[in-house]
Symmetry: C2
Subunit: 340 residues, 2 copies
């Protein structure tokens, strides 16, 4: 079209985007050619010039049913959407579950449709983070990514809660209650950093008292929590407290304690982690747990990403220069209810 109208490409794009700096006569000529060609100034054309879509991908490489059932992702996504919409950017969700979905997601993310990505990828063996890094797409992680030993990667920017500090506070509370045999039900610590950190916090407080027979690994599901509680009770019938690394697992553990005739908190004190209201407030008894501001973490992820991509409407280079980027760890606090 630049050829036909006899003006430069940048002039054409200024006319298409209604930017100033084009003489009225020239603008008229360009518009005439546009009409003649039946040219529609779609975003694909605009994008060649501005390289901006005002769209951000939210990518989750986890089983869909875990995402949908776990209120954790619901809260995270709520925070992300609020912040993106507030800044005029469209959140675009991509779920990955099966290996054959990866190349397609890579095509889409590399295809110039989005300005950046917010990534929920928690398994240490997930190829997704490396894939996105090779695409050069600005990315912020939800939760600290677990890096395999010896793996060399660029620094990954993330937003996470103070999992280790929160676990410490939970276990200190159980110690202060006079409990002597404090067990823990962990998340999948070979796969997720939050599980590693929460177990480390438990060990920080108990030191040599954290014997292996008091530690049972589970998978952040309700059923996993129930099975782990049963195993712990079989092995250590003398336990008088348990720190459970998620509310969902704690709800399963409480059910097993009830079935086995253990009173909570009289016989066994229970502390959870997350403070997901729909769970922690409705368990029997209501759950003492470690609160993290999940929706706030979602908003922070979006804000951190904008500090790399620039906000919609502002230049990218300027934004990157002004805001140096680093990960954020948000505080946690213990919320006392009836279970401990």
């Amino acid at each position: 079209m630049a050829h036909r109208s006899g003006v430069s490409k940048s002039t054409v794009s200024r006319v298409i985007n209604a930017e100033p700096g084009v003489r009225a006569e020239v603008a008229e000529r360009v518009r005439g050619v546009i009409d003649q060609l039946g040219y529609v100034p779609n975003s694909a054309a605009r994008q060649l010039v501005t390289r901006r879509n005002n769209a951000i991908a939210v990518v989750a490489s986890q089983p869909q049913n875990r995402l949908f059932i776990d209120p954790f992702f619901d809260s995270h996504l709520r925070g992300i959407r609020k912040e993106l919409v507030h800044h005029g950017a469209q959140p675009v969700l991509l779920f990955l579950e099966e290996p054959e979905e990866y190349p397609r997601v890579g095509d889409f993310l590399g295809g110039g449709h989005v300005d950046g990505a917010l990534l929920f990828s928690l398994r240490a063996d997930d190829p997704l983070p490396g894939m996105i890094e090779r695409l050069g797409l600005p990315t912020v992680f939800g939760g600290r990514p677990l890096v395999r030993e010896g793996e060399r990667v660029r620094e990954r920017v993330y937003v996470d809660a103070d999992n280790r500090g929160g676990a410490r506070e939970a276990v200190r509370h159980l110690v202060a209650l006079g409990r002597r045999h404090i067990a823990t039900i962990t998340g999948p610590y070979d796969q997720e950093a939050s599980a590693v950190d929460r177990l480390d916090g438990y060990r920080d407080v108990l030191l040599d008292d954290a014997t292996p027979d008091l530690i049972e690994r589970a998978d952040y599901t309700r059923k996993g929590g129930a099975d782990a509680m049963a195993a712990l009770l079989d092995r250590r019938p003398d336990l008088d407290a348990v720190f459970v690394a998620s509310d969902l697992m704690a709800s399963g553990a409480l059910q097993v304690l009830r079935e086995r005739g253990r009173r909570v908190p009289e016989d066994v004190a229970v502390v959870g982690f997350d403070d997901l209201a729909p769970i922690a407030e409705t368990t029997d008894p209501p759950l003492t747990t470690v609160h993290q501001d999940i929706e706030g973490m979602g908003r922070l992820m979006a804000r951190l990403l904008f500090s790399r991509t620039g906000e919609p409407g502002e230049g990218r280079a300027a934004a990157v220069a002004e805001h140096p980027l680093s990960s954020v760890v948000t505080p946690t606090r213990l919320v006392l209810r009836a279970s401990a």
Copy 2:
């Protein structure tokens, strides 16, 4: 770039896309200019020529928490994803909740990033369907869209279950059990076609026996079902059966019946609708309900859309000509468990 290399635009695009029909010497010249300009053949440029992204939007204009909590959408999305991935297309999810999100979603959908849309828009007053129609994007609806009286719209293609037939079968079963005072708890029939159709099926069977005091409107939530059951029992303590228009509402109704000391099915027989396994199999007693193949409906939506957009890799015009497009209503069947 066509200008600089002295060849036609279509020749440049053939070179970029590595298509045949360009003399080696010409291709070399084009590649030289590409190198000189530092030009990267990104998908935005390719898309100007092919207009294909191999990406399909899944758009849901419902509160996020309803989407996430309701297993209905989880199953639908599972079917859609399987079918899209099988055909090499990337599903891209867009949620709309607040009015201020509409223009942005419109920008994205109109921006050439996706080849078509699968739309879950169930409220009669939702501006989204009209917006997408104006964009000219091929669209298939999940569930028959309810059109307001007097509204003139193009024919909207949808996939739905036989809601009216399923409701008829449910109510006929209650009649065959000898029940005399059969109530119904409906969905929001001013807003959603499925609620209209399930109420019509109830009326088809009961005719003049479907008196207004046996009909209570609710909202497809568990709490709504519980409140409606309480209202019906207050008004018609003689009722001996209830057809509840969703499993989630039925689970709330069962709880109220238990609290009021009514035995199910001895005193009150209950039939639900949906056959969502996580609900219907775990209620007390397990729920007799109308089964619909939700995941299969999701797959069908994707297949119908491909018949308009063409499958990834094939031309769009050819596809549209070969497959005339019409809506599909899938069969339902009654599944007998303990509640009726």
